[in-house]
Amino acid sequence: MQNTERVSSAERAALPVDELQRIARQVRARIISNSHKTQTPHLGSCLSCVDILVAAYFHTLRIDPRNPTDVERDRFILSKGHGAPALFQVLAMRGFYAESMLDAYGEDGGVFAEHPPTPDHLPGIEAATGSLGHGLPIGLGMALSARLQKRNYNVIALLSDGECNEGSVWEAAMMAGAQQPGNLVAVIDFNKWQATGRSEQVLALGPLADKWRAFGWDAHEIDGHDMGALVDVLTKYPSGSGKPVAIVAHTVKGKGVSFMEDDNNWHYRIPTADEVSAAYKELGVVA
């Protein structure tokens, strides 16, 4: 529709795996220190999806931070909006805005809330989320638009396992099953916890990959902290098979810091200064 003649500058960063792992450690350290500084919760949920975000933004997504509204860009929607503290760090490091902007995190009148703002308020954001179950339907609309507009961008929506409680996730899954947008990818950050309990016990979540298959999707299970596997699966899919793709990424809530891993207290707990130092030491990041 618009800008059809302009050549897109959106491209993959395609950084090597060891570099992605280094960035992921940095992101984790920054999220933890920011949580302490700004008293922002959801640390466990942020740490479980860091590797997925880094693989997407620093390897796979065809984007240009200098031109965040490029019509040909790949779209990434953080459907689990409470992972915003992780996304804000990643977008800054990728160059969508100055890292110094994050100094104003959580300040009155600022833009960095606990959930992503609307796209017109922060470059790099594709959809304002925070209420769960919204990102996949929006992503489906974007994916179908690419078909109508004869563009070849891909759309990735990152969901949490708890989010899969929402009926709208499965409404979108069914419509995608019918429409078969091959450019749509749902990544489920399967950290086995939701806010107040084990996600397989609160509601009957499993068998998660089979559920997506039953809804007409290609589904793959991977270790969501294996950077090589993440890069491999995100690059290989969408494959053009025509089917939407679900990637069930097995993750650990609080990943990267021994005393936070798989401890659901860190859904809401804020680290002390000592805990921040200990976390930095474990991550091998200099404060």
Binding site: T118, A128, H134
Partner: protein
């Protein structure tokens, strides 16, 4: 009205490749021409309205112009949060059409009635709220809505509504349409009540009361200019809507009126009662039950005018 909608959206969809029509599994055959003329741009989203709203917002964020069509409660109360977050918070051009609004589907029972939609949708920031009176207003509303760069809600009737604007009309979003001149009292109608209100004006004329009639196809933004004028001029102004008296056009005018200084006019509101209609009945039955008839409107307005003169 729904046939006029189908016809108009087909014309608009043929002319503008951004127009996409999303249906919640209704309108079988109704949109055959749209499907032919706008190939690939019709999506039956099934009975899954929350997803449909999100899909529409995603399309609008990608430069398309989605239009959602389904039965009113299912495209409003059912997926209110998706309207609020996906369409209004993002401030994207999604047009939401609620068919069979008010008591159009009276026979189907309260699950299919919609007397709350204007109330809840006008609370949403960025939302424009439209309620055309007949197919002439509907076509004009739809055309105007496609030019708005934000979310629009439009409630329409079902089929066979009489045409009031037989010689056409000019419509601008946010402005009322004068349908009848009169110096004694002013009747403000929104949506498909207009033919009834015109008849009420006839009945008032028989009692030597000259009623001015204004049609309000736009409920939000409210036409404050015309309200200023009529409340300065007339002793009695009546609002008539097939919607609860809580939160609709009448409430909206009352909110405005409460903030004004020294207005001459007094507001009388007509709408449905604060209850679910449990008994079976047609749309006409429902209108009679809630006093939305020309007889009742003219009588109450006459009484209010009489009281104001004393």
């Amino acid at each position: 009205m729904r046939n006029a909608f189908a016809d108009e959206i087909t014309k608009l969809g043929s002319a503008d490749p951004r127009v996409v029509l999303l249906s919640g599994d209704i309108g079988n055959k109704l949109f055959d021409k749209f499907k032919q003329n706008a190939e690939g741009r019709f999506f039956n989203c099934g009975v899954a309205e929350a997803n449909m709203m999100g899909v529409a917002a995603g399309m609008a964020l990608s430069g398309m112009r989605p239009v959602i069509y389904t039965i009113t409660p299912f495209t409003t109360t059912r997926c209110f949060e998706q309207i609020r977050v996906d369409a209004c918070y993002h401030n994207v051009p999604v047009i939401i059409v609620g068919t069979g609004s008010g008591m159009s589907y009276a026979e189907l029972g309260p699950t299919h009635h919609s007397c709350e939609d204007l109330a809840i949708l006008r609370t949403l920031p960025n939302m424009t709220v439209l309620a055309p009176a007949d197919e002439v207003e509907l076509r004009l509303c739809l055309r105007a809505a496609l030019k708005i760069n934000g979310p629009v809600y439009m409630r329409i009737g079902k089929k066979g509504e009489p045409i009031v604007h037989k010689n056409g009309a000019a419509l601008e979003i946010g402005h009322s349409i004068n349908v009848r001149a009169g110096g004694d009292v002013c009747l403000i109608s929104t949506g498909t009540m207009l033919p009834v209100v015109m008849k009420a004006a006839d009945m008032l004329a028989e009692r030597n009361i000259a009623a001015r009639v204004e049609s309000f196809p736009t409920v939000k933004p409210l036409d404050q200019e015309i309200l200023q004028e009529v409340f300065s001029r007339y002793p009695v102004i009546a609002s008539i809507e097939e919607h609860s008296r809580i939160g609709g056009l009448g409430s909206s005018i009352a909110e405005w009126l409460a903030a004004q200084d020294n207005m001459k006019g007094r507001l009388v509101t007509f709408g449905t009662d604060d209850e679910f209609m449990h008994e079976v009945g047609s749309q006409d039955y429902a209108r009679r039950k809630y006093g939305l008839t020309a007889e009742n409107i003219s009588q109450k307005v006459f009484a209010a005018l009489d009281k104001s003169a004393r």
